[in-house]
Symmetry: C2
Amino acid sequence: MAQRNVYISNMPLDEALKKYREHLENPLQSESVPVKSTLHRITFGPVFAHRSSPSDPCSAMDGIAVLSERTQGANEKNPMQLKEHEDFEYVNTGNLLPENKDSVIMIEDVKPVSEGVIEIVEAAYSWQHVRQVGEDIIVGEMLLPSFHKVRPMDLGALISGGVSSVDVFEKLKVGILPTGNEIVQDLDALTRGKIIDSNSSVIEGLLTEMGCLTKVYSPCHDDPNALKEAIERGLGENHMLITIAGSSAGEKDYTVSTIEALGEVVVHGVAIKPGKPTILGKIKGKSVVGLPGYPVSAFFAFEAFVKPLIESWHGQMDEMSIHEGVLTQRVVSSLKHEELVRVTLGEVNGKWVVTPLNRGAGTTMSLVKADGVLTIPRLSEGIERGESVEVKLLKPLHTLSERLVVIGSHDLLLDIVADRMPMTSTHVGSLGGVMALIKDECHMAPIHLIDEKTGIYNISTVQRFFPNRKMALIKGVKRLQGLMVRKGNPKGIYTFQDLARKEIEFINRQKGAGTRQLLDYELSKLGISGGDINGYHREVVTHMAVAVAVASEGADAGLGVYSAANSMGLDFIEVGYESYDFLVPYALLEDFRVQRFIDLIKSPYFKTQMTEIGGYALEETGDIIEIGETYD
Amino acid sequence: MAQRNVYISNMPLDEALKKYREHLENPLQSESVPVKSTLHRITFGPVFAHRSSPSDPCSAMDGIAVLSERTQGANEKNPMQLKEHEDFEYVNTGNLLPENKDSVIMIEDVKPVSEGVIEIVEAAYSWQHVRQVGEDIIVGEMLLPSFHKVRPMDLGALISGGVSSVDVFEKLKVGILPTGNEIVQDLDALTRGKIIDSNSSVIEGLLTEMGCLTKVYSPCHDDPNALKEAIERGLGENHMLITIAGSSAGEKDYTVSTIEALGEVVVHGVAIKPGKPTILGKIKGKSVVGLPGYPVSAFFAFEAFVKPLIESWHGQMDEMSIHEGVLTQRVVSSLKHEELVRVTLGEVNGKWVVTPLNRGAGTTMSLVKADGVLTIPRLSEGIERGESVEVKLLKPLHTLSERLVVIGSHDLLLDIVADRMPMTSTHVGSLGGVMALIKDECHMAPIHLIDEKTGIYNISTVQRFFPNRKMALIKGVKRLQGLMVRKGNPKGIYTFQDLARKEIEFINRQKGAGTRQLLDYELSKLGISGGDINGYHREVVTHMAVAVAVASEGADAGLGVYSAANSMGLDFIEVGYESYDFLVPYALLEDFRVQRFIDLIKSPYFKTQMTEIGGYALEETGDIIEIGETYD
C-alpha cells in the first residue's frame, strides 16, 4: 500500500483566505480596448471625457431658430412676421444652432403665413429650447471611476464623451486541470468504472461569468511526474491554475506534494464542509488552487476562495443577496467546520420557509435545485427547526415567491407539473407532507394514505390530522402499485410472500411513505414481519430510486408505481390502484399558485402526458373535496 | 416646408405592450447545442437524465471494500483478519465497488498486519460508505425544466446525467438601424453639426446581455426610399429590427410612414416620459420597434417594450429588485404620462434617501449615475419631498450602502475622491448642502460661504444654521476664485465693473452657490445690480459648466475657480482665495465612510493630484474644527 498524506489542517475560512491573499499579488496588467468592445470589462483607471456633449449649442426641439432680441414685442395683440433665411431658420431636434441665433421657437407656436414667412405671437427668451454646450457631458469630466465594470449605458456616455479606447484590466487567464485515472471528458469514453468530468465545466462556467479566459486541460493521471508536468504547463500558459480532485490526503492524492515540490503550499485543509480538502498553493508567484473532487465541494471551495480572490483583483465584490426565513427541518453540524447547506425557499402564508436539501458532497442535483445557501458557523452544533435563519440567495427572490411549495409523496407527475409552472417539491412521503401542512411549511401535500379499516384513501387520515381546520383534497390520479422485478422475473417473485425468501434482496421506501404503509399493510395481513425480509431496512425516497436499485441489480424487488417500473424496463406484478391526491388548506384554494396547479392538472396537455407514461387513471383529476367543518 | 405627422397617440404603457404582444408570435425555433456550449442558453423543453449517477455502486471513502456478511462478529474483543484479493480490495473514493462486495470500511478503521493482511475491530453493515446507483441522478429524472437559463452548476448535472446535447432556443437576431443625416459612427467623422451614434452601442449592449445576436447597420439618411430599403434589409437578416431616432412626428421623421407602407403601425406614441415617441410596428409578421433618438428616451423605451417582449419569448422575467427610500426633492410630473425619474440612493443615519438626477432625455450621464428608477404613475402630479417611494434598483443594494453621500458645492476634487472611494455627489450649491444636512439627507456638505461682516468662511454660517446641533468642519482646501475669460482676454475684462458693459455676455452660477454669493457680495460693494449684467439670469451648476460656456463662446466671462479655467485653457483674473470645507454632523465623524474620506484627503496621493490641477492650497486639509455646543 502506497504512502498516505495523513495530515491536513482545519483552518477557519477567513483566516485561510486572508493568509492566502497576503501571499499573492494581483497578476493583472492593463490593456487598451476600443470603446465598443468594453462591455463588462473593468476600468483600470478613471475615464475622462475627451469632448463635451453637445459640443455645440443645438436645438432641443423641432421649430425655428431665431435671435431672441429680434422677437421682442411679439404678443397675441401684436403678432410678428419673420422671414426665413433673414430672421429665422427651420431646425429639427439635434440640429446645430445656426450662426447668430440664440433661441428656438417650437414648431407648434409657429404659424405659416406664406412661402418663407411665418408669424409668432410670443417673444423668445435667449437660450430657450437650446441644448447648451456640455449640458450632458463636460470635457474633462470623469465618466467612469477605476474598477468599474462597464454596463450598456456606460458605453453611451463613453462614446458621447469622445472616448475612443479605454484602459481596462486584461482578462485573467485560468487553467483548469482535472486529475484522476478514472476521469474521462467524453461520454463516448465513459466505460464501467470511469467517471465523467463534470467539475471542469462548472468551474469554467463560473470563471466565464467572472470575465476570465479559461482553458480546460485533458485529465491528468494519478502519476506524480505527469502531474508535475501538467501543473508547470498550466501555470506557464495562465495567470492561475485550478486543479480538480486529488487534493486530499489519500493514496493517490499527489497534488499537495507536487505543489510543495514546485513552490509552496500556503494552506491545506480548511474548516468548511463541503470543501475541507482544499489546497491554496503558490508557484513562482502564481496561484495554484487544488479543489476537492466531489462536485459540491469543488463548487463551494471555488466560491469560498477562488471567487473572492479574483474579485479583489478586479476590485469588484459581487456579493450574493441575503434573505430571511424559517427553517423547516433541524440541521445538525459539527463544531469543527463551517457547514454550507443547500436549501430551497418558498413563501407560504406570508412566511418564508427554508428547507434543507440533500447534503452529500457528490450531489450535483442539490446545487441545481438549491435556491440558496445556509451557513452554519464553526462552533455551532446546528440549527433547530422553526428558527429564523439568513440564506444567501442563488436565485432572484421574486422568482421564488412565484413557487408552489409542495412537500409530501413523490410521483413522476410532479416533474410534468414542474416543467410547466414554478414549483419546488420535497419528497418526504405522505405523512411528512401532512406534518409540513400542519406547520404551514408548504402550500400542498401530495398524499396516498390507505385507511386500514375502510380501505378508503386519504380522506379519513386528513380528518384525523386536521380536526379543527377546513381542508381541501384536490383529486389527483389513481395509480397502479405493484412489485417491480427484473425483466423476465428471473427470481420468480409473484406475491408478498416471495419477498421473505432467503435469496431475495428487497429495496424499501422510507417510513412515512404511502407505499411503505401499503407494504406494511399487506405484510401484516400475511403475518410477515419486516425482519423476515432481506433489505427491509434499506430505504430510498422515490419510486424511481426503487426502480433503479432493481434495474441495476442492487436489489431483486421493490414496491412502487407502474410508471417507474415501466420507465426502467422492469417487469411489474400488479397490486392494485391507489388514490394519489393533493391536500391543501381550504383557505389556500384561491391562492394563485394553487389555482395555476389545478388549471394545469385539468388541462388536456397534462392528460396526454400522463397517458403516455401509463399506469394512471384520471377520471376525477382536479375535482375538489372539502374536508372538515362540513364533515362533522 | 415638408409635411409633418401631426398626430401621435398617448397610449398607457401596459395597454400598448399588451396590444403589441397580441400582434406578434414568438419567432424563435429550437436548436440542438453540445452540452458544454449551453451556458446561459435557454432550454426549449425539459431535459431528462440519460443515465444515472453514479451509474454503478462505488466507494464513498478511501478504504477497503468487503462483503458485509464476511465481517460479522468482528469487534474490539475479537479482531478479525482479512486477506487482500480474497476478503477485501483496496478502494479509493469514487472507485467502482468490486464484484461481490457490498460495503466499504474507512482506511482509518483498518489496521495493516502484514503484506496483504489487515485487521478490523468492527463489522460492516451492507451498503456502508457506498454511493448507490442513482444516488445523485436517476435515469429519466428531469434535470432542467423548459425555459430554464443554464447556469454553471446546471452544466454539472447535465454532464453527470449523460446528456450530450440540449435543445435550446436559437438566439434572437436583432438588427439595429440608427437614422438621421447628422449621425456618424466614428469619432473621426465627427465634424461640427454631426452627432456621434451612442445609442446603437447602448442598445446592442442591452441585447447582448439578454443573449441576443446583434447587427448594427450604418446610419440611414433621412430619406424615405433609403429608409424603406434599410428596413427591408434589416428585417430580412434578423428576427427583429430596432430603428433609432426619427420615430416622432417631425418633418424628417419618416419611420412611421415607412412602416405603415411596408406593414402595420400597431402603436405610435405611448404615455411614458422619457420615451413618448415610440413606434411599435409589424412587417411580414416580424417586429419593428422605432425608438426615440434621445439617449434616455431610447433606453427607457427599450426597457419598457423591447425587453419584456424578448423576455416573454425566452420565458424569462428578469425583474429589477425594488427598494424603499425617502425622496429628498419634490418631483413634479404631468398627469398625461408615466414618468421615469433617474435617482441616486444613499444610506444616511439608517434611512435610505432618494435623490432625483437631471431629467433631460438627452443626458446619458444621468443613466450612468443612476442607482435606480422612480416611476411616477400617470394621473399623478408628482411626489412631495419627504414621501416614501419605491425605487427599481439598477445596482446591487450592498454597493449603495458603502457610499458616502455628499450634497453641496461642486469642486473638481470630488472627482478625485469619487475615483478612490464609493461616493455619490449632488451639486446644489453650498446652501443646498446645508439644507440637506439639516434634513439628514446626506453625510457631508462641501461648502464655501463667506460671512459678509467678518470675511471669514463657513464657521459663522454653520453656527447660524445649526444652533442646537454639534457639527464638525473638516477643513478642505483654499482655492483660487477669479473671472474666467477667453484666451488672450479679447474683450478686455479685468474687474467686476467690466461685467456691466453692454457688449459683455456673462454666465452665472445658480442661487445658493457660494460662488454666486461671492459675486453678489462683490457687486453690492460696487453698487451694481444683477439686472445691469447681460446673462446674470443664465445659470449653470458647476465651475466646469461656466468654463465650458466661456470656452465655447456662449459667454464672455464667468466667476469660478482657477482649476476649471485652467483645464479649459481660459485666461483667469484672480479675485482671491476662499475656504472650501466639508461640513458633517459631529456624530458622523466616526462613520466608516466619513473616516475613509478623511484618510483619503490627508493622503499624499490626494495632495499630488490637487497640486497637478493647480490653484489650491492644502495646509489644513483634513483638520477638524468642532462647531456648536462648545462654541456657545
